[in-house]
């Protein structure tokens, strides 16, 4: 383990930013701290960097207590949401900064610095921009310079605070894939903060989901998506249809109920709902289509159940929608392909089809 965080708490006045956090960041992996705003994810990252002091608890770096170590002795690379490039310095000067501020004894020669900066510039695919200034670069380029600058000091840990937050959608997507490739190349222990679940699932090896200053769940992207630990995680990782149901032994939906409770909540992802004009197996719920929107190759369909008037959101394939279009949309059947059941006694179980 490269970073070990134990019993960490932080308050800002009356606001509890983090309470009793215990976390281990695996060596050489890319870990995402995912959570809504105010969940404490940025505070946690800043405490790891030493930019914020914790109230309680400890931070351990590679087996050494670093709780009270100064930031500049921690050897962390930090990438900011708004780049934080030094505006009065050229790209070259920006990347060389960390090397040039070293005490004379450990400072590399000018020749070594130039070589290193050029190597980093080609790593982030910005050869030929050395003499330009930050104001002449696009957002995506600026963030890559910031990354090169952070890597120049050969940090043991790379910390990224919403690194793609200030970029537009397309650049964001490109840059996060590129970051993943880069990480596969250099294998530096990295932690990045994001509020975008798609980003976290796509980029990271491990996801840490935070809410209200506490860790809700940790795991690989697949683990947390397929087996969300609680309703919050489930809701945060994607859109959800929520039903309140009463469990009975006979008739209706077949449920693999591992709970003794009667009143349960049913969590269903929009893409786990299919719509068909016929009720072939008798398990369908009758509904009518109230609206739809074509999103590229998928279609978001809004429905209302005929009994109970419950709103349901489905996300189906274009093909499926095209087949449906000519049918009578006033009476279709919803089939539930998968769901999670949440009982008040805090147990989760799978919906059996």
């Amino acid at each position: 383990m490269s970073i070990r965080i134990a019993n960490l708490s932080k308050r800002f006045g009356d606001f509890t930013a983090l309470s009793n956090i215990n976390l281990e960041i695996p060596d050489g992996e890319l870990t995402a701290l995912l959570g809504p705003s105010g969940s404490g994810k940025t505070t946690l990252l800043r405490i790891i960097a030493g930019l914020t002091d914790p109230d309680e608890g400890s931070v351990n770096f590679f087996g050494e207590d670093a709780t009270h170590k100064a930031t500049r002795d921690r050897r962390v690379g930090f990438v900011f949401q708004h780049y934080a490039l030094f505006k009065h310095m050229s790209i070259f000067e920006n990347i060389a900064f960390g090397l040039k501020v070293r005490p004379r004894a450990t400072r590399p020669t000018n020749e070594e610095i130039r070589e290193k900066v050029n190597k980093l510039l080609s790593l982030v695919q910005l050869q030929g921009t050395a003499q330009r200034f930050p104001s002449e670069l696009s957002g995506g380029q600026k963030q890559r310079v910031a990354l090169a600058r952070a890597l120049a000091v050969e940090p043991k840990v790379l910390l990224l605070d919403e690194p793609f937050g200030a970029l537009d959608a397309k650049v964001r997507l490109e840059l996060r894939r590129w970051l993943r490739y880069l990480h596969d190349e250099i294998h530096l222990t990295s932690v990045f903060v994001t509020h975008d679940q798609e980003e976290a699932l796509e980029v990271s090896d491990k996801v840490v989901i935070l809410n209200k200053g506490q860790i809700e769940q940790t795991g690989t992207p697949e683990e947390v998506y397929d087996n969300p630990g609680n309703p919050f995680v489930y809701g945060f990782l994607g859109n959800v249809n929520l039903f309140h149901a009463r469990l009975k032994q006979e008739g209706g939906l077949a449920l693999d109920a591992r709970t003794g409770a009667e009143n349960v909540s049913l969590y269903i992802r929009p893409h786990d709902i299919s719509i068909s004009p016929l009720n072939t197996d008798g398990k369908g719920i009758e509904a009518r289509v109230t609206a739809h929107r074509v999103l590229g190759n998928r279609v978001r369909v809004e429905l209302k159940t005929l009994t109970g008037d419950r709103e349901v959101e489905a996300n189906i394939e274009r093909k499926e929608w095209n087949a449906l279009k000519d049918a009578d949309l006033g009476a279709v059947f919803i089939q539930i392909l998968g769901a999670k059941i949440y009982a008040p006694d805090d147990t989760w179980s799978d919906y059996a089809i």
Binding site: R72, A84, L85, K87, V101, A150
Partner: protein, 293 residues
């Protein structure tokens, strides 16, 4: 004529009398004349009078007037005061702005309000305050007398009073600028291993240099021109405790108009130079603000 003309309902050859929101034609020249007349009466005429009166008896008389020993002493004292107050308030102002912009602490808002006190109260009261503190009958009077230290009616008093009335300029200019720029750059420098001093000189200072320079110029202008506060603590000892503004007042009071205007012209020249420098800095400051946003 183009086929795609916009002014489709204007008949050819007929000029429209009004375009949409355009004001009547006479407004612009009328407004400009009023403004110009005002500028001439209130700014150009007094300025011209100063230089006109100064040179009324010829260049030779002017040269004699400004090289008189008491005048030279006044110039020296004014420059000395500025030379001490400007660096002092620059360093203090940067420290104050840093504390307010980068840290959160109890009583921050009160402190921000307190900075304005030298601007809010009359300079005469500022001067009196120092007399009450350091004068022979003041709080520290017995102590100062016992140790033979003279502050009031001496140079230290003049410097103290000037430092007091000029201290808000740098901090007031820097606080909003530093708050706008934020902490990211400094934090980036620290994570890259920079020490506090290297961070300040290589990252913070370049970021705030135009704002700082602007504050320094304003401090300097006020330090050179301050009258009220300095008049109270000066004691008006010729050649010893009279600054340029004080000496102009003395000469004028003694009907030595020539000499008074000669010294006044020097002070005015300094002010004009300051104004030009200030305008240039303002231009760069605006450029920087644009970049930050």
């Amino acid at each position: 004529m183009s086929e795609v003309s916009n002014a489709s309902d204007v008949k050819p050859g007929v000029k429209p009398r009004h375009f949409g929101n355009r004001e009547p034609r006479w407004i612009k020249p009328a407004l400009m004349s009023v403004v110009l007349l005002f500028m001439v009466v209130f700014i150009f005429l007094p300025l011209a009078t100063i230089f006109g009166e100064a040179f009324k008896s010829g260049v030779k008389a002017y040269a004699t007037a400004i090289t008189e020993p008491d005048v030279l002493a006044a110039i020296r004292l004014t420059l000395l005061t500025a030379a001490i107050c400007v660096p002092l308030n620059t360093v203090f102002g940067v420290m104050l702005a840093w504390a307010i912009a980068k840290f959160d602490f109890f009583g921050k808002h009160v402190l921000v309000t307190l900075i304005e006190i030298p601007f809010a109260i009359s300079p005469v009261i500022a001067g009196l305050m120092f007399v009450l503190l350091f004068g022979t009958q003041g709080w520290f009077g017995p102590f100062l007398r016992a140790h033979d230290i003279k502050i009031i009616f001496a140079v230290p008093g003049i410097i103290l009073a000037t430092a007091f009335v000029t201290f808000p300029f740098v901090a007031r200019e820097l606080i909003p600028l530093m708050q706008e720029i934020g902490k990211d750059d400094e934090e980036a420098a620290i994570t890259l291993g920079a020490s506090g001093l290297k961070m300040f000189f290589r990252v913070t200072l370049p970021n705030i240099k135009w704002g700082l320079l602007y504050g320094v110029i304003l401090t300097n202008a006020r330090a050179i021109g301050e009258f009220g506060a300095v008049a109270v603590v000066s004691g008006l000892v010729r050649g010893e405790t009279t600054t340029m503004p004080l000496y102009i007042d003395i000469l004028y009071g003694e009907y030595m108009f020539n000499a008074a205007f000669a010294v006044a012209s020097l002070l005015t020249l300094l002010a004009l130079v300051t104004l030009v420098v200030k305008t240039i800095i303002e231009h760069y400051l605006a450029e920087q603000r644009k970049q930050v946003n």
